[in-house]
Symmetry: C2
Subunit: 414 residues, 2 copies
């Protein structure tokens, strides 16, 4: 099937999706979960082909690990779909209605987005996770996974589409773009007439490419150069475990801390202790001149370091004279994802929350909570670092839009 045909089928399916009841959508999600479990052998066989091709090409072990499926991962995919089916219906509610002086009644209704495009890398579980959130929110979805996972994604897509039989959700609501060519992906990104929003999921390069090339509105996700700012009045006993948690609990994810900023007045007492603890946890520390003065054997950070999302056991440490300098640094070098202040002062915390221009701003907590499930929003399709439409964890509700309805009785404009 051509990209255009896929897009047309998805658009046609989206009109049916928008009319479905929540029961129909939930039934479909449960059938999808059951089908993944029932068709494990088929999926694993296809995944094996991908893994072997990737091994022959010399794919790194960490990436191979993301690509390879097993029974446990497939059960996890099924569990995720069941959890999504248990979420509240994000569409259909009437947000508000009002009456104009001329008697026109106007209302705002929450409706599905229509067709959602998802472009992602080599994790086949995204195929079912993204399909689940899109179905729950009443959308049709076009999935374009990484070339390395093409056989796995096609197999998962077939299983999910077959599972829709008899649920009311049309099979065409789930489309897997099976053409691995880059040209096909670029064609997909031009289909503004058929796709309402494009969500890239993956590394900085993938996201940059989609932002550059897409003619469809994109929600930028993912990059997290997150900061912990230790104010002079912070509880220093609590500060160290927060920093260690934010950096080390899972260093390869976007809400992990990449930088620590410390007020000058406490730097001498706090930094030696904090850096020793970071090193105990195998973290490489890169500091500015002031940090080096206090702990001479740290590596000197470059200008580029302040912009970098390491996604690794590395952390940048900077000393500032006051909160204004900390805020200016975060707004300049950060990625507007998640940043935290550690302070005893509510005043300072509130000012920090207002002034830091990020999707999630924390007081006395690790940044690792920026996540759909941790926030209590349910499964997410990504973490938006832009301000348009959705900011922070994007759950099913963020894949909806609104529509005005206007009820007249022969009204004409004077």
């Amino acid at each position: 099937m051509s990209v255009l045909e896929i897009c047309k089928k998805a658009r046609a399916a989206s009109y049916i999706m928008a009319q479905l009841s929540v029961d129909q959508k939930n039934l479909a999600l449960c059938h999808m979960a059951n089908a993944l479990e029932a068709n494990q052998q088929k999926i694993l066989a296809s995944n094996k082909i991908d893994v072997e091709v990737a091994k022959a090409k010399g794919m790194k072990p960490a990436l191979l690990d993301r690509l390879a499926l097993d029974a446990k991962k497939i059960n996890g995919m099924a569990k995720e779909l069941r959890e999504v089916s248990a979420l509240a219906d994000p569409v259909g509610s009437i947000e508000r209605t009002w009456t104009r002086p001329n008697g026109l009644i106007i209302g705002l209704m929450r409706v599905p987005m229509g067709v959602v495009g998802v472009i992602y890398e080599s994790r086949p579980n995204v195929t079912s996770d993204a399909a689940g959130i899109c179905i729950k929110s009443g959308n049709a979805v076009i999935l374009r996974g990484g070339t390395d996972a093409i056989n796995s994604n096609v197999a998962v897509g077939e299983v999910l589409r077959e599972a829709l039989t008899g649920t009311g959700v049309p099979a065409d609501a789930i489309q897997v773009l099976a053409n691995p060519d880059r040209a096909a992906a670029e064609e997909l990104m031009s289909m503004r007439e058929y796709i309402d929003v494009l969500v890239p999921r993956g590394g900085a390069d993938l996201i940059k490419t989609v932002v550059e090339k897409s003619r469809i509105p994109v929600i930028e996700t993912g990059t997290g150069n997150c900061h912990i700012y230790v104010s002079e009045d912070a509880d220093l006993e609590r500060a160290v475990p927060i920093i260690i948690n934010a950096k080390c609990q899972r260093p390869g994810v976007c809400n992990a801390a990449e930088k620590v900023i410390v007020d000058k007045s406490i730097a001498k007492t706090f930094l030696p202790k904090a850096i020793a603890e970071l090193r105990k946890n195998k973290v490489e520390v890169r500091g500015d001149e002031e940090v080096k003065r206090i702990v001479p054997d740290v590596k000197l950070a470059t200008e580029q370091d302040w912009y970098t999302e390491y996604l690794d056991l590395i952390i940048g440490v900077k000393v500032v004279t006051d909160m204004d300098e900390a805020v200016a640094h975060i707004n300049k070098y950060g990625s507007h994802h998640s940043d935290s202040i550690l302070t005893a002062s509510f005043d300072k915390a509130l000012r920090f929350i207002k002034q830091v221009d990020s999707a999630a701003v924390y007081w006395n907590a690790s940044t690792r909570f920026t996540d759909g499930n941790q926030f209590g929003l349910g499964a997410e399709i990504g973490i938006s670092t832009q301000k348009l439409h959705a900011r922070g964890p994007m759950s099913a509700q963020h894949l909806t839009t609104t529509k005005y309805f206007v009820l007249g009785r022969g009204h004409i404009r004077e």
Copy 2:
């Protein structure tokens, strides 16, 4: 000043803007209104240069009319700013807060977008209208008007910036891009790091160019290929005035009706009357084969007609067998702006409202009400026909976003 310098100044100003009180912003808006009135001579002198250059270039009278300012238009610009100052503050509210099982308190706060870019054509009044909405919503704004209006826009910008002195709103919150080169506009569209959203205002070509070239998230506005569907059970006495109003009250605007769709069972009785009335109002009618069979002297509509936004006294008329055909036609050929059903049946109306994929869907009313003021939302910066972020009339509230705040007491993720 270079485009980059303008962007940097706007970004710096945006951080100040985000901290202002509603009183400071309203004071600024009132000062801006007063300054426009007090500096009429300066603005009119600059406008005269633009008008003379345009005349020498042979600009059409309708466009000259849009470009030329006079005392009345400037007073209108001032009035608009005062009306915007009277609107409710769209930022600062806490939309909701909730507590997670681990005791983390999470909240969602409404905040300004940051820096808004507006690219528009040759109406200098947009300079102050757009600046007003952006200031009200706590944003800095970068204005890039049409080359033909460059002297007028620069003069209006200077007057507005000077008026900000002493209000708390920094002058740099209003930036007019004085470089008329296309390259400067393209550079502006690449400034993703400094501009949070770009709103093009103008004709289809301008909007298409911005959508194609921008690396910044764009809100697509404006194109309105609006339909009136006359169902077989419509009140035909009311139907004619609604059609005439929707087509003729102001044919050059995006919420004017461009198409009428009529159920076959009433076509023979309704069409001769409706078409006679349209012609009495100087409207050219283009119909499909079925319309021609009933009123033989109408022009035959081409396939292209069904896609066209005439913005003129022309209307396309089509006969359908039932509502499903009408809905499919509107979703295929329409621009997802405003569409209306005329029917006595609440059932049908509700189905139409749910199935038609447009920003505003009407029952028994003219489409001419899709407008910020008519909807009671206040002045608008455009009418969004996309689904991301804002759909329909975009007022000050639509130039805001949200931010999560997370309050912990030493919380770390398990």
